[in-house]
């Protein structure tokens, strides 16, 4: 008995010498996420938060583990209000000592843009950019170019599909808010300098409406009288609903071009039908949610299966969170590979973002390859969009291929 006991002890001793290797040291970093839990866009961010959590969890379990880096998300409620973000940010810096952060939108851009170079924290955004944000030496990084560039890609594509209509007549229906007027100024400059001289397009009407209008029939009448072929401008569900109602009232269907979260999707979610948007287009510089054969969709299914993500979160809203999160984790990945996992700082992540492009594959097929430079807060090369439309009552791709953004759009 004593011998058996001693043998067991000896065996255990030998096993302990050949035991599992010691786990690799993991450096943890906190990533603050400015969200909106109780403000104007709480409904949107309700969907963003699980997507962000799932992608960071996936990265921690896969690439992060290999590199010895773990990213811990910490959400903050910015209430989509610049005063709240301004008061909250010093605390975020002190608490998280972030190497990268995820932003919400306009209010935190306003509150943080000027101080980020001093705070040395790169902030990633999932929405498209605006002309007034198109500035050099920014520490904010947008996954998409400007709304104007995305819209113009679709507009120029449309003119190529309808050469008989050239110059294609554009009607603008815009709210009188900073963001919308910025786009209008961009249209005016681009059309005047490029499209009108080349006979590709012309602006024939420019009408202003409320941001949440009840009725736009009088503005619509003017657009119809100007014989517009395409309208750009409805950027909220209320605007697009009023636009459709006005079209139905006059018995016309002038197609619109917008961003995916502006018109077709939110309208159909409320009204349970795509029919009124037959022929309308949406374009964005990310993969289409209608494409369930894409690598991105397969990645999403992996998150559903292994990280508890809800299947219903595959939509145009959560695509923005997916894009933002995937860029953020890849940015840290680039930095960790360049500088090592320990001792990462915001400055090192910033340098890593500018140093090498982010390939289409590492962005899980969701975004085209991104080339960040100091020229602009978004990638300035390889710009392209996917265009979606409603055809026979179904929300589908207008063209299976990525459509290039015109390269002659300059800052306005």
């Amino acid at each position: 008995m004593k011998k058996v006991f001693l043998l067991i002890i000896a065996a255990l001793f030998v096993l302990s010498l050949t035991g599992a290797p010691a786990s690799a040291e993991v450096t943890k970093y906190k990533v603050p996420v400015i969200s909106d839990f109780s403000g104007a866009y709480a409904e949107l961010f309700k969907a963003w938060v699980p997507m962000q959590k799932a992608i960071f969890a996936w990265w921690n379990d896969t690439t992060g583990k290999q590199l010895g880096v773990e990213l811990e998300l910490k959400h903050y409620d910015g209430r989509y209000d610049s005063t709240v973000v301004a008061s909250m940010w010093p605390g975020i810096l002190a608490e998280c000592q972030p190497i990268i952060a995820l932003g919400a939108g306009g209010p935190d851009v306003a509150a943080l843009q000027q101080r980020l170079p001093q705070d040395k924290v790169p902030v990633v955004y999932g929405t498209a950019s605006y002309g007034y944000g198109w500035l050099p030496n920014q520490w904010l990084f947008q996954v998409r170019p400007t709304y104007l560039q995305e819209f113009m890609a679709a507009f120029v594509w449309y003119t190529e599909q309808h050469p008989e209509k050239k110059p294609v007549k554009l009607g603008i229906m815009s709210a009188q808010i900073t963001a919308a007027l910025d786009i209008v100024h961009g249209f005016e400059k681009y059309f005047k300098e490029q499209l009108e001289p080349k006979g590709i397009g012309a602006i024939v009407a420019k009408e202003f409406v409320d941001i949440s209008p009840v009725d736009v029939s009088s503005q619509m009448k003017k657009i119809i009288d100007a014989k517009a072929d395409v309208v750009i401008g409805p950027v909220t569900t209320a605007m697009s609903t009023a636009y459709i109602r006005a079209c139905q009232m006059y018995g016309v269907n002038i197609p619109t071009i917008a961003s995916p979260h502006h018109t077709i999707f939110p309208y159909a979610r409320a009204m349970k039908t795509y029919d009124p948007f037959e022929g309308h287009m949406v374009s964005a510089a990310h993969v289409s949610v209608t494409d369930t054969t894409s690598k991105t969709y397969a990645f999403f299914q992996d998150l559903v299966k292994n990280y508890g993500l809800n299947e219903k979160l595959w939509n145009v809203y959560t695509m923005m969170a997916l894009n933002q999160s995937i860029l953020a984790v890849r940015a840290v990945e680039h930095a960790a590979k360049k500088f090592g996992p320990a001792g990462l700082t915001g400055e090192k992540v910033y340098e890593a973002i500018l140093a090498e492009p982010f390939t289409h594959e590492e962005l899980m097929g969701s975004l085209p390859a991104l080339y960040f430079t100091k020229e602009a807060p978004f990638s300035t090369k390889n710009l392209k969009v996917m265009i979606e439309t409603v055809k026979d009552g179904k929300y589908v791709l207008a063209t299976p291929d990525w459509v290039p953004i015109p390269t002659d759009i300059e800052k306005w």
């Binding site: 839990f37 709480a42 409620d77 008061s87 101080r115 009188q176």
Partner: protein, 353 residues
């Protein structure tokens, strides 16, 4: 209000004094020391919150003079703040003027804009005046995005570098905290002086009964316009400080919703009291900070997150609105009234109040 036992005035100045006893001086000095020493021991979050509170207090004290003392309802205070911010930004960017010139001039610019609505106040009051001041919000937004880009940047707004005074650059939260607090103390002291002066008494007379005030010889037109002028001046100074703090000025930062919040701060703190404006601002800002802290915590709780974000969204705003409603129901004269009761009770303790 009773004075502490044994404290009485023998001269007019003593009667009008804000600080009457040595303990009151001690408390005031201790508070000021605490206020200015806060960045040394308070964390980054505390300093950030205090910066926004300091800026907001200036605007709300101005609104108190306008709405609380003169009785002129004003839902355009945020627009006046925006005018001040743009004025300060433009003067800094285009003329490179120092802040000890730009901040007062920002106040004057906002005051001139505000006094236009003061002129309207002579003819109308109450609901109609409220709507007129809402127009200030729309006029401001429209003007800022339509005026020449070289002036105010239009949609692009104005971007500022850190400002400095005598070589001391306000480029960190802690540094600008001192600028904000110094200006806030000066403005609040000025407000207290104003309301105890002849002008302050005239404003109160106009509030209580403008017809009677006119009969006894008070120039109602002058004092109504003046109340808007002064209230907007305060807002302009607050706007300038906001611009120098955030260093990016855009019309979207100054919304109608913000003006409504300022009125809410007055209601919670107590109308017709400078201290009420301060208390209301601090309480509402702290409540807002609590909400921003609570939301993500609740979202992390599986049960609540599973039910949906609507619960958090709805409950946070219900909580905030509900607290304001409770204040109005149970303490319609504001928290300052409760504070005065506590002070009185303490002074006559152990006798019942």
């Amino acid at each position: 209000m009773t004075l502490p036992a044994g404290v009485y005035a023998q001269t007019y100045d003593e009667d009008q004094a804000l600080i009457r006893t040595t303990p009151q001086w001690v408390w005031l000095i201790a508070f000021l020391i605490f206020l200015f020493a806060l960045p040394l021991f308070g964390g980054g979050r505390i300093v950030g919150i205090m910066n926004v509170i300091g800026i907001t207090v200036i605007a709300v004290v101005g609104l108190q003079i306008n709405a609380g003392y003169a009785g002129q309802i004003n839902i355009g205070q945020s627009a006046f703040m925006g005018v001040g911010a743009y004025a300060a930004g433009a003067l800094t960017l285009h003329f490179n003027l120092p802040i000890w010139i730009t901040i007062p001039m920002a106040g004057v610019a906002a005051a001139l804009f505000g006094s236009v609505f003061g002129v309207a106040a002579v003819r109308i009051k109450g609901f109609y005046l409220a709507l007129t001041t809402i127009a200030a919000q729309f006029v401001f937004s429209f003007a800022m995005i339509k005026l020449p880009k070289a002036w105010f940047g239009q949609a692009e707004g104005l971007r500022l570098n850190p400002v400095s005074i005598f070589g001391f650059e306000f480029d960190t939260d802690k540094r600008i905290y001192y600028l904000i607090m110094v200006i806030a103390v000066i403005m609040i002291y000025g407000a207290w002086g104003l309301i105890r002066s002849r002008t302050g008494r005239a404003l109160v007379a106009v509030r209580d009964n403008d017809n009677a005030a006119e009969i006894i010889g008070i120039d109602v037109f002058l004092y109504k316009s003046l109340s808007f002028f002064i209230g907007a001046f305060y807002a302009g100074v607050a706007g300038a400080l906001w611009g120098y703090y955030v260093r990016y000025i855009q019309a979207d930062q100054f919304t109608l919703w913000l003006s409504v919040w300022y009125l809410g701060m007055l209601i919670v703190g107590g109308m017709g009291s400078i201290l009420g404006a301060i208390i209301g601002t601090v309480v509402i800002r702290i409540l807002q900070e609590m909400i921003t802290f609570l939301g993500p915590q609740l979202a992390d709780i599986e049960l609540i997150a599973g039910v949906g974000g609507e619960i958090i969204f709805a409950s946070m705003n219900m909580l905030l609105g509900g607290i304001i409603i409770l204040f109005v129901i149970f303490e319609p004269r504001g928290l300052v009234h409760r504070w005065n009761i506590i002070k009185e009770s303490f002074r006559i303790w152990p006798f019942p109040h």
